[in-house]
Amino acid sequence: MISAFFIYNQKGEVLISRLYRQDLKRSVADIFRIQVISNTDIRSPIVTLGSTSFFHVRHENLFIVAVTKCNANAALVFEFCYRLVNIGKAYFGKLDEEAVKNNFVLVYELLDAEFEMHLERTFCNAIKAKEVLDFGYPQNSETDTLKLYITTEGVKSERALKEDSSKITIQATGATSWRRPDIKYRKNEAFIDVIESINLLMSAKGTTLRADVSGQIMMRAYLSGTPECKFGLNDKLLLEKDTSHKGMARKSTAVEIDDCQFHQCVKLGKFDSDRTISFVPPDGEFELMRYRTTENVILPFRVHPVVNEIGKSRVEYRVTVKANFSPKLYANNVLIKIPTPLNTASINVRVASGKAKYVPAENAIVWKIPRFQGQYEVMLSGDAELSAMTVKKAWSRPPISMDFQVLMFTSSGLLVRFLKVFEKSNYTSVKWVRYVTCIKKYDQICGAMRSLLI
């Protein structure tokens, strides 16, 4: 499938080159450099030259490139590239030119290694590792699995290694490849974090065009043995179906989930048939599920911006922000970025609370409010002086973006109803639940409040 894999730096120098099939020559790397890296016109992530297709993903200052000569599964190739980035991040903290150069042997091992299991989103404790591609077919990519295997082998004694490797191979191919069988904890605990981020699009007049919530349920499981977990949410479909809850299926509190994805440990067939979420969790932290809702989204903040361009030399700002949640709660680390025109010379701002200052490098006024009580309202007013420009190019008016955290508040109203743990030894376990709503920066899952300025 994938015939070759390359990593380039920004200048187009090859840092990693791995050919999986013989239908290509090493010089194919030069073709990508000439045709794509040094050609700024190319906007598509897929380029086909003759019968050779190049898929590329940019990360930090790297080009991660997969080359195929067949009608490859494009979605798979990109997912694979991103998975590689995630593995790299898990290994090196940050995947950039420096990290690749310093660890090129490791990167080769990762790549070389067949992508044996599933490149995984869990970055919990390392268990072992396999190889990434065999003959260009992704094989294994569970970071945990990859990790222990690749990092420890130079260190461990030969005998330990032998024992370990046979465990690895069994785990890599076994039914629960994500979990070792012999985990023991003195205190059995499970933590659940519900993290929601809001995608919001507002029109110029302040009406909400689109508000949806994408949530993540992160779990940290410190449980012994092979526990079977059952997990319940106030999922509308389930509550309506479940006869025993019919009386208490208060429709107001149930949440309609548009779509959700699960960690591979969740039995998908079971969810499909009766919407119960049951699984044997990996050890440590992992993303149990992701979901999306669009109904009845409660917005934690309202932003009313008034931005006027007065002549060619001045822009006037008045931005008010109101917290919509209960006064008992408060938001932490509120950060509001209000974009300014590129030719801003100086800026004058006044704020009632928090600190605001102009950051020229970001072309924005950055307004920080460390603690923001519910139902509270704050205002920023100010104006920007613009320097004269010879060519009057329209200002694109980028969106205002916000970044914050509200503890114990979910925009969707989602609640965890229960988490049950069943294990042979029948131990009791302690469970903790925490809810966080945040808007991730718009370059992440996007919490951009677009066009508030227009």
Partner: protein, 714 residues
């Protein structure tokens, strides 16, 4: 300095890395010299000495250095025997590095590879399953004739290994061997072993066996290597739920090839596949969607189909939250799915609204899909959205947005007035490229709704001076000619254009000739001079044969029978209908079978961008030339593309220089690179005229003026 930084960054990273690993990693780094440092003179000599050193660490570092040199493209094949000596080791990492080197240079030193065979065979007997699989995998990757004979025994053993990890590696190795020597693989019974492995107890082994079989099947001449029957089908469905994400994709791909016996069986399989929609990996979701789209063909139960369509919408929407590249693939596929099942996302228009920070290629795809989803109910929302896009700064995107407004007007007649109003607002912004694009689409609106929006013509004419692009100019001239009786100063306007006739692009010239004839037919008294002058210039001073011939036809018509000319030139034209970008139904079915693959991204059948190696390319080229000769007899325009095609096919990467001279071709939808796209389009037209309708809007646009006039003639 570097060490403290990097260990810090690990600490800082959001993901908890166990402390053990952390300390190991740090140690690892401290001891690591910089392998990428600039080479000194006689480096290979030094490396050779180090490779033969008595100290283990020294040897290992030397191997790393060799690999680093190999990466940057330096020739280190001379060190082959020295590296080979280090193959026999207990250090797994060192072993892997040596294997990596072997895979790269085995071809250059076929004689010496034999020396490695012993170690390989020994390793396949190792007690450590990892080493066994590593050895068999590497042996498969060394494509040297001499080693093949030694491969069979270990492979046979590994295929029956007790450890599933080794078995699944061996399964892929069969595909490698088949690629090299099909007969050997069949004669030794490996292929039939592989067929048995589909029933293996371990789902991972099943997945890899399926992958290998599918690959072998594709390259085999008989195509009968991998046939799914009832028992294997059950096996696959069971394995589907148990194996890794990549394994699932392989199994789903195999299921897509299976032809269900009847509607009932299809429903049963679909039921087992639907849960995959909840998978976190976008490519698994797309593969599942592909299977379901294909199986829907055989499902007769309407209710079941309705249910499936309903279930398919949420995962498709969720794909839009993935990484931009995956989104792009998803959007291209949604485009195909929407043509087959337009009802699927009818209420989901909002999720396709562009985000400020979407990359351009995603934005353009979203626009296309929004046009597809537009209907009377959501048009207002869409229009205000499009209007906003038109005030953004990315010129290409703004143009496409304006064009989208026009397409909505043509698609939804109830909303055409609102669309025209939005376009007028945009023209009043006086932003040059917005005005030009708006005029081009307004011409199309006029063609769809003749005599409905004539009131806006004065506004259009006010912007005459701002126009500098041929297409916009040609459009406005067409409007002037078409509505000459309503425009008081039409003759003046045409006259101003005639003054610069020689400087204009040929499509503007064509329009000018036609418009002046129309003007004359509508206002015979005032426009006699104009028509004479324009025909004069076009026939005597213009080198373009099309313009000259057209002018002659008009001239003859006018001089022999003005009434007939009127009947021909001013006859009522049938209004244009929707829609650019429709894919013919046969191609659509083929694309659905290719969902998630490159073909679905390009909206082109796979054989148009795949060559079968060099020989394949030769065959295609021969065929292309034959067809070319045929085609050139019929159409002189296509003949121009001949050179391009030859260049494109010459590309075989054996020599970088040829590639430099070849134009890059990006048959993607973004059309940001129009020139090469056009080449490929032409290429397509040559290869299969019947399957590809001329769908590309870029070529349509160029042809617009021509077809307008064609319409004018009849």
């Amino acid at each position: 300095m570097m060490n403290s930084d990097s260990s810090l960054s690990i600490k800082d990273s959001t993901y908890a890395v166990s402390t053990v690993v952390k300390s190991i990693m740090t140690d690892f780094r401290i001891s690591r010299p910089n392998f990428f440092s600039t080479p000194k003179k006689g480096e290979n000599y030094e490396l050779r000495a180090d490779l033969n050193s008595e100290y283990r660490d020294r040897r290992k570092d030397a191997i790393k250095k060799v690999i680093a040199n190999m990466t940057v493209g330096k020739d280190v094949s001379g060190l082959f025997p020295d590296v080979l000596k280090n193959m026999q080791t207990d250090d797994l990492e060192q072993k892997k590095l040596v294997y990596l080197y072997l895979m790269n240079y085995a071809k250059t030193q076929p004689e010496l590879v034999i020396l490695a065979v012993n170690t390989f065979v020994k390793d396949t007997d190792d007690s450590n399953p990892l080493i066994r699989s590593l050895a068999i995998r590497t042996m498969g990757c060394i494509r040297v004739e001499k080693i093949i004979d030694y491969l069979c025994e270990p492979l046979r053993k590994c295929l029956r290994d007790e450890n599933p990890y080794v078995r699944k590696t061996a399964a892929i190795c069969v595909a490698k061997l088949y690629d090299l020597s099909p007969n050997l693989a069949i004669d030794n019974g490996f292929v039939s072993t592989l067929q048995d492995m589909v029933s293996d107890a371990n789902p991972m082994v099943v997945a890899n066996a399926v992958t290998a079989l599918a690959e072998i099947n594709e390259t085999s001449s008989t195509k009968d290597i991998f046939i799914i029957n009832a028992p294997t089908l059950t096996k696959l469905l069971v394995a589907l739920n148990e194996c890794t994400e990549w394994g699932r994709i392989a199994i789903l791909a195999a299921l897509a090839e299976y032809k269900p016996a009847d509607s009932k069986e299809a429903e049963h399989i679909v039921e087992r596949v639907v849960p995959q929609f909840q998978h976190v990996n976008g490519s698994v979701v797309l593969s599942a969607i592909k299977v379901i789209m294909i199986y829907m063909r055989s499902i007769k139960n309407d209710e079941a189909i309705r249910q499936l369509v309903r279930k398919m919408a949420p995962p498709l929407v969720t794909l839009l939250a993935s990484a931009p590249e995956v989104q792009y693939v998803a959007l291209r596929n949604i485009n195909i799915i929407l043509q087959k099942r337009p009802e699927i996302l009818a209420n989901e228009m909002r999720v396709f609204f562009c985000k400020y920070n979407d990359p351009p290629y995603v934005k353009l795809e979203k626009l296309e899909i929004m046009i597809k989803l537009a209907n009377e109910r959501n048009i207002d929302q869409l229009l205000s959205e499009l209007k906003e896009y038109a005030s953004e700064v990315d010129v290409d995107f703004v143009r496409k947005s304006v064009r989208a407004i026009g397409q909505c007007a043509i698609k939804i007649s109830e909303a055409s007035e609102r669309c025209v109003n939005v376009l007028l607002d945009l023209i009043n912004t006086k932003v040059n490229y917005v005005v030009q694009e708006a005029i081009v689409v307004i011409k199309d609106i006029f063609r769809k709704y003749p005599h409905k929006y004539e009131g806006i013509i004065p506004t259009l004419c006010q912007n005459l001076d701002a126009l500098d692009e041929p297409e916009a100019k040609a459009s406005l001239i067409w409007i002037i000619g078409e509505y000459a009786e309503r425009i008081e100063n039409a003759d003046e306007l045409i006259l101003t254009f005639l003054d610069t006739f020689h400087d204009e692009n040929f499509q503007v010239q064509l329009q000018l000739v036609t418009a002046s004839v129309k003007l004359f037919l509508k206002k015979p008294q005032s426009a006699q001079n104009i028509v004479q002058r324009s025909l004069q210039i076009a026939t005597s001073e213009c080198d373009n044969p099309d313009i000259r011939d057209r002018a002659y036809i008009y001239w003859r018509l006018l001089s022999t029978d003005p009434q007939a000319a009127k009947a021909v030139v001013l006859s009522d034209k049938p209004p244009i209908s929707v829609q650019s970008n429709a894919i013919s139904s046969s191609l659509l079915e083929e694309l659905i079978s290719n969902i998630s693959t490159l073909a679905s991204v390009y909206h082109k059948p796979p054989e148009t961008f795949l060559g079968r190696g060099r020989f394949g390319a030769d065959a295609v080229q021969r065929r292309a030339i034959e067809e070319q000769e045929e085609a050139s007899r019929e159409s002189p325009i296509q003949a121009q593309t001949k050179t391009n095609i030859e260049n494109l096919l010459d590309l075989d990467f054996s020599d970088t220089n040829t590639v430099n001279s070849t134009t890059s071709s990006l048959p993607s939808s973004s059309k940001s690179i129009t020139q090469p796209t056009a080449n490929v389009d032409d290429l397509l037209d040559l290869f299969n005229d019947n399957t590809i309708t001329s769908t590309q809007s870029s070529s349509n646009i160029q042809n617009n003026s021509v077809s307008n006039d064609l319409v004018n003639l009849f």
